[in-house]
Amino acid sequence: MFIFEKRTQIPVVIKNRNPRLASYILTQYGGPDGELGAALRYLSQRFSQTDKRAIAILTDIGTSYPK
């Protein structure tokens, strides 16, 4: 279903290391209201669609969301 690529969607440049901030930012990705949860909701909603355009766009948003 997914292909992992060893790169980020946009370049990431870390000028100052800050583990506390990094840990907080990571909850925006994997936390209870994070991007990962949102992506999975898009991918679940696609199964209840009847319009092919809606299926396609939910699939494409869901697979690109947390990158």
Binding site: E5, R7, T8, I10, R53, I57, D60, S64
Partner: protein, 84 residues
């Protein structure tokens, strides 16, 4: 971009990112405008460009996808930057 990549590697990754991001956006547009021939043309071009950049990067540096790994008879999937 990671600091220990060569300028050439960074440049190829940047070009890949640009072409792929462009392709992703065109893909979302085409989902709701499937009859737009101009957008379709731009999409195919962006995908071609991204594929070319990926191929160039992988042949010069390290595999970006697991399916490109192992071509040199060693498990080189572990090589390269995991966290950029």
């Amino acid at each position: 971009m990671a600091h220990n990549l060569t300028p050439r590697a960074s440049q190829l990754l940047k070009k890949l990112s640009q072409a792929d991001f462009y392709a992703q956006d065109l893909k979302l547009y085409l989902d709701t405008h499937p009859d737009d021939e101009r957008a379709l043309e731009l999409y195919r071009e962006a995908v071609r460009e991204a594929d070319a950049c990926r191929c160039a990067f992988e042949s010069e540096f390290y595999p970006l996808r697991a399916s490109s790994a192992g071509k040199e008879c060693s498990w080189d999937w572990l090589c390269g930057q995991w966290i950029l």
